[in-house]
């Protein structure tokens, strides 16, 4: 699908190391984090944690293997810092691939949940730096034990991996009202199930989940490796409810990127909130902790994640005339310019009329329905991906858009817009929402200390 040859990755020793540093503008990592960026070593060794004497030998072995230059010594230049005021993977420049998982927590022990979050956080931090999911490297550890890291990313760099955690409404209180972890008093008012939208055909097996983890990377194997290892860490404490692979990002958060196309063949995400637009991020994405409702003080610096699995009825779309396609979207297929004229980034003019005084952009076109001017100024940070899960029982492509949005207030920014679009958007005829979820995404960890975990503010609130 991408332009690069798949054979690049089969012969790593002959492949020149990527030279361009992609280190992004997020707050820099501290010295310890920098150290673990070299190879897929176990994270305790790299972090320089004082180990018991019994472990010291094994740790040293891990270092030796990782620095012998024959396998994964490529500097992890394509990596994002874990530390920061916000979790990575939200305003971060959108990567090419996604693996998203929703889990249900099976333990009912609050300490065990905290322990899981702590292990996840440490593993995520290590993997984002190109390191191992475990304390040992993928090829290290006791010979009679299964490797702690599954190993399929051993020869791969971090590929700009980001791992983002979110907490669903049911973590705070189950559907039947059980407060398993003493959290129900901390559930933000805005963190509740989305309403039924017109035309929703949600499948229970693709909806909801106590915890969501979004892994994005420029190499699909790196994203899948991350989720696979995090799920493995959770066995006995949480089970997978559903997961979704995505490819071909359908939005961008950096200005220089070429706007990608969705599976309708149209450019998608043209008017997104960009990473360098701090004012817009503060206004539309980050929870301030004082303004959106009760119980969200612990969520300050976080955000709300909305995911919707939007199946496209590809076959009927493909049979629709170009006139219909452009009219439904409200933009030209080729350049993405609004039908009122200009280029992709020209603001649509919803009043410019053509023949018989009808506006060139249909009032029910997607661009009109989704535009902030028709939604009380509401904007979303979109981060969706195309998905294709093979074909269904009728031989039709099971494909569409795995829509992901980050917002400060779902009930003001997303719900009214989705209600209006589901009812009136011309596009509704060609799509079907089959999965859904909402999660509160805690703030990031600004400076690393051992034992820190994502969401710690919630459990200390």
């Amino acid at each position: 699908m991408s332009g690069s040859s798949p054979t690049d990755r089969l012969i790593p020793d002959d492949t020149p190391a990527p030279s361009a540093a992609h280190a992004d503008a997020e707050p820099g990592s501290d010295g310890a984090a920098h150290q673990v960026r070299v190879g897929r070593r176990g994270f305790l060794t790299g972090a320089g944690v004082a180990l018991g004497a019994a472990l010291a030998g094994a740790a040293g072995y891990g270092v030796a293997r990782a620095t012998d230059g024959s396998h994964s010594s490529t500097p992890a230049s394509r990596s994002h810092a874990f530390e920061g005021p916000h979790q990575a993977g939200i305003s971060t420049s959108v990567q090419e691939h996604l693996h998203f998982v929703a889990l249900d927590v099976t333990t009912t022990d609050r300490d065990e949940l905290i322990s899981l979050l702590t292990q996840w956080t440490a593993a995520a931090r290590s993997m984002m730096a190109g390191g191992s999911a475990g304390q040992y490297g993928p090829m290290d550890g006791p010979y009679d034990a299964p490797p702690q890291d599954t190993g399929e990313a051993y020869d791969l760099d971090a590929a700009n991996l980001t791992i983002t955690f979110g907490f669903g409404p049911t973590l705070f209180e189950t559907a039947d009202g059980t407060d398993r972890f003493g959290l129900s008093a901390q559930r933000p008012e805005a963190l509740k199930d989305l309403p039924h939208f017109p035309g929703d055909t949600l499948l229970p097996e693709r909806t909801g989940g106590d915890i969501a983890i979004q892994a994005c990377a420029d190499d699909p194997q790196v994203a899948v490796h991350a989720i696979r290892n995090l799920v493995r860490i959770a066995f006995g404490k949480a089970t997978v409810r559903w997961s979704q692979l995505g490819y071909g990002k359908t939005s961008m958060t950096t200005r220089d990127a070429k706007t990608p196309r969705n599976l309708f063949g149209f450019k998608d995400g043209t008017a997104n909130i960009l990473a360098d637009d701090a004012a817009a991020l503060n206004e539309h994405v980050w929870v301030s902790g004082t303004d959106t409702g009760a119980n969200d003080g612990w969520l300050a610096g976080g955000s709300y994640l909305i995911a919707r699995r939007i199946r496209m009825t590809i076959e009927t779309w493909d049979r629709s005339a170009m006139r219909e396609q452009e009219n439904v979207i409200g933009r030209t297929k080729q350049t993405g310019a609004p039908l009122s004229g200009g280029d992709e980034f020209t603001e649509p003019d919803f009043t410019l009329a053509g023949r018989e005084g009808k506006p060139l952009i249909d009032v029910y076109s997607h661009v009109a329905m989704a535009h902030p001017s028709n939604n009380a100024g509401a904007r979303l940070l979109r981060r969706g991906y195309n998905y294709t899960d093979g074909s269904d029982d009728l031989g039709r492509l099971d494909a569409g858009l795995f829509f992901i949005a980050y917002v400060r207030d779902p009930w003001r920014q997303y719900v009214p817009m989705q209600n209006a679009m589901a009812k009136n958007d011309l596009l509704s005829e060609y799509i079907r929402h089959t999965g859904s979820g909402i999660w509160a995404v805690p703030a990031g960890i600004t400076s690393w200390t051992d034992g820190a975990f994502i969401g710690q503010e919630l459990f200390r609130a």
Partner: protein, 403 residues
């Protein structure tokens, strides 16, 4: 792999070779895939406030593509006019500033005028355009306008007729329903809706009536009042608790029955009145009929073949047949036009309409059809394949009949 190659290459003719496909997959996807012998002649047009510049003023007969770019600041239009300067051979409207749009047509040898109309007013910026004889066989289109006019007349008459039957039968249905004669109402439900389903795109073109009359429960917004056919359907085929999302179904009261039956009847009357108005007759043209036929098959593909339309009564196959009926009538009206412009398409449509009819006939039961949920997975898949086989050529109908 094949999918990504196909999606990137732009097909303009059936003469592509595998080699050409492989090459084009790596090149800019704005370029045509290959210059086969049937490729259209490309002519660029730049429309500005005071000029209409064409890359050439003559072209060989056959397929022509005018790529019209609006380089001005007003909305523009482009026309190809016949030698008399009056008859419109083909046109493209509503081109916003900076936008490009293609006009694709088959042109016979002769003298023409081209015209850009910036600001959509006046006679436009005209120039002579010559189509030379390339020897390509371009079908005569002499009676096309007459044929389309007759197709429009016939289709409007069909819509009026169906809306009249719908009104008559809806009266009978609602009378039985309000009287509490549920058996009678159930027996009339599907045979009444058939008239709705045959002209569904027409009803949908009146944006306000469709949601009042034909919404399914899943289509509702939270808190929205549900009215129309499917509300009564659910009441007549009351679901079990499990089928009702775990909640016991509460039947409508006698007052509610009357209220919703009256509303359905008065909405049906509105549909009747509107389809019998001159406004409606004037709004119908070849593309309305062609797109309506395609729209009916889309309805089958997304609602009926999956059993989602009639989830309580399971009478989806009645609707299926009615949608196909409506599409066939629309197509038959335009068939002469299609025969002249694309005889292979007409032959394919004849064949596929017959095939889907034969397929549906297997499931006839008495005056109607078996219930949807008695179909096996294999049978549903077979029907879906039949719908796809018909939908694909049917999606080309409009382009074949529009001037």
């Amino acid at each position: 792999m094949a999918i990504s190659l196909l999606s990137r290459a732009l097909f303009t003719s059936a003469t592509l070779t595998v080699g050409a496909l492989a090459l084009t997959a790596c090149t800019d996807n704005s370029a045509p895939a290959a210059e086969g012998k049937n490729s259209p002649t490309a002519i660029t047009v730049s429309s500005t406030a005071d000029a209409c510049n064409l890359s050439t003023t003559s072209a060989p007969s056959g397929n022509l593509t005018f790529s019209v770019k609006n380089d001005g600041s007003d909305v523009t239009e482009f026309y190809l006019l016949a030698e008399d300067g009056l008859r419109i051979v083909s046109e493209i409207e509503n081109i916003g500033p900076g936008i490009s749009r293609d006009l694709v047509l088959t042109a016979k040898p002769g003298n023409y005028f081209t015209s850009c109309k910036p600001g959509m007013v006046g006679d436009g910026l005209r120039a002579k355009f010559t189509v030379t004889d390339s020897g390509a066989n371009v079908e005569p289109t002499g009676e096309k306008a007459d044929q389309i006019a007759s197709a429009v007349t016939n289709y409007v008459a069909y819509v009026k007729d169906q809306s009249e039957s719908l009104l008559t039968k809806t009266e009978q249905f609602t009378t039985a329903y309000v009287a509490g004669d549920d058996d009678q109402a159930r027996s009339l439900y599907a045979s009444t809706r058939v008239h709705w389903e045959r002209i569904e795109p027409v009803a949908e073109s009146f944006g306000d009536l469709d949601p009042e009359m034909d919404l399914r429960e899943a289509d509702l917004e939270e808190g929205q009042t549900w009215t129309g056919w499917h509300l009564l359907e659910k009441d007549l085929w009351a679901p079990t608790k499990e089928a009702n999302g775990g909640a016991e179904y509460t039947p409508l009261t006698q007052d509610e029955r009357k209220q919703y039956a009256d509303k359905l009847l008065s909405d049906t009357q509105k549909l009747y009145d509107r389809t019998h108005s001159t406004d409606f007759a004037e709004s119908v043209d070849a593309s309305f009929i062609g797109n309506g036929a395609k729209g009916l098959l889309d309805e089958v593909a997304t609602g009926k073949v999956t059993g989602e339309e009639e989830i309580w009564s399971h009478t989806d196959l009645w609707d299926f047949q009615a949608n196909v009926d409506g599409a066939r009538v629309a197509y038959e009206g335009l068939r002469d036009v299609v025969l002249a412009s694309d005889s292979a398409l007409a032959a394919e449509l004849d064949k596929q309409f017959d095939a889907i009819t034969t397929q549906l006939d297997q499931y006839r039961d008495g005056e109607g059809f078996v219930e949807y949920q008695t179909l096996t997975e294999a049978q549903v898949k077979e029907l879906a394949a039949g719908v796809d086989a018909l939908s694909e050529p049917l999606s080309k109908l409009t382009a074949a009949v529009v001037l």
